[in-house]
């Protein structure tokens, strides 16, 4: 249904989605492999950034500006998650 008439914007969004999904796989690779725990935190942070990009693309694709609110919440939760993980590591091992 989305692909019925392919405009410039739709093509750009789909291309961006393609790149972002490849990037997600790369980030997952680092998340799974990361030699130390901070590496995994960095990968998680990156995954949330990619998710914000995906949300931005989806907002444009569906023309529903409500989805932008999700991006607001997601950035906040990402920050809280990063800080919580860092504090946890600091308390746990030091």
């Amino acid at each position: 249904m989305i692909l019925q008439e392919l405009t410039l914007i739709k093509g750009a969004v789909l291309f961006a989605f393609f790149i972002l999904i490849i990037s997600l796989f790369l980030a997952f690779f680092r998340l799974a492999r990361g030699p130390v725990l901070p590496d995994r935190i960095v990968a998680l942070d990156l995954i949330v950034s990619l998710a914000v990009g995906l949300i931005a693309g989806y907002t444009i694709l569906t023309k529903q500006s409500v989805f932008l609110d999700t991006a607001v919440v997601l950035t906040m939760i990402a920050f809280l998650g990063t800080v919580a993980f860092a504090r946890y590591l600091e308390r746990r091992w030091l």
């Binding site: 950034s49 950035t75 860092a86």
Partner: protein
């Protein structure tokens, strides 16, 4: 029409920046260089894609909301990076073997739980710098 082109270019370039960030996270050799890629490229990429949303809709409320998200990203990304880097260093994450200089070495005083500035004992600091200069010359 021109607005659509701007929007499409912003979207694709944002996605490409994020791809560079992800590739850097996989390819670069140690935690700190990986953080360089993850913070700069990825946050810049998401900012570009949010700008694309603002350009596409062009309504005041949405532009305001996008600016809010961008401001929040710029405020929080460095703080998060700072905390991860600090913890990573404290946990003894190995630096890449090509690392040229480490002036943080021995500055953490774990007993007193402070990070010393090293300004008061200037003799040791100049000693460090000389050693480091020699090291740089050796590398060149």
């Amino acid at each position: 029409m021109i607005r659509e082109w701007i929007c499409a270019i912003l979207l694709v370039s944002g996605a490409l920046f994020m791809f560079v960030g992800a590739l850097g996270v996989v390819r670069l050799p140690d935690l700190f260089t990986r953080m360089h890629a993850a913070t700069k490229s990825a946050s810049f990429g998401s900012v570009l894609m949010l700008c694309a949303v603002a350009v596409y809709f062009g309504e005041v409320w949405i532009i305001f909301e996008t600016l809010l998200v961008i401001f929040f990203i710029f405020l929080t990304t460095p703080v998060g990076t700072h905390m991860i880097g600090r913890v990573g260093y404290l946990l003894g994450t190995p630096l890449w073997q090509g690392t040229v200089i480490n002036e943080l070495q021995g500055r953490y005083n774990m007993r007193k739980r402070v990070l010393e500035s090293g300004l008061h004992d200037s003799a040791t600091q100049t000693g460090n710098e000389n050693k480091m200069d020699n090291h740089l010359n050796e590398i060149k």
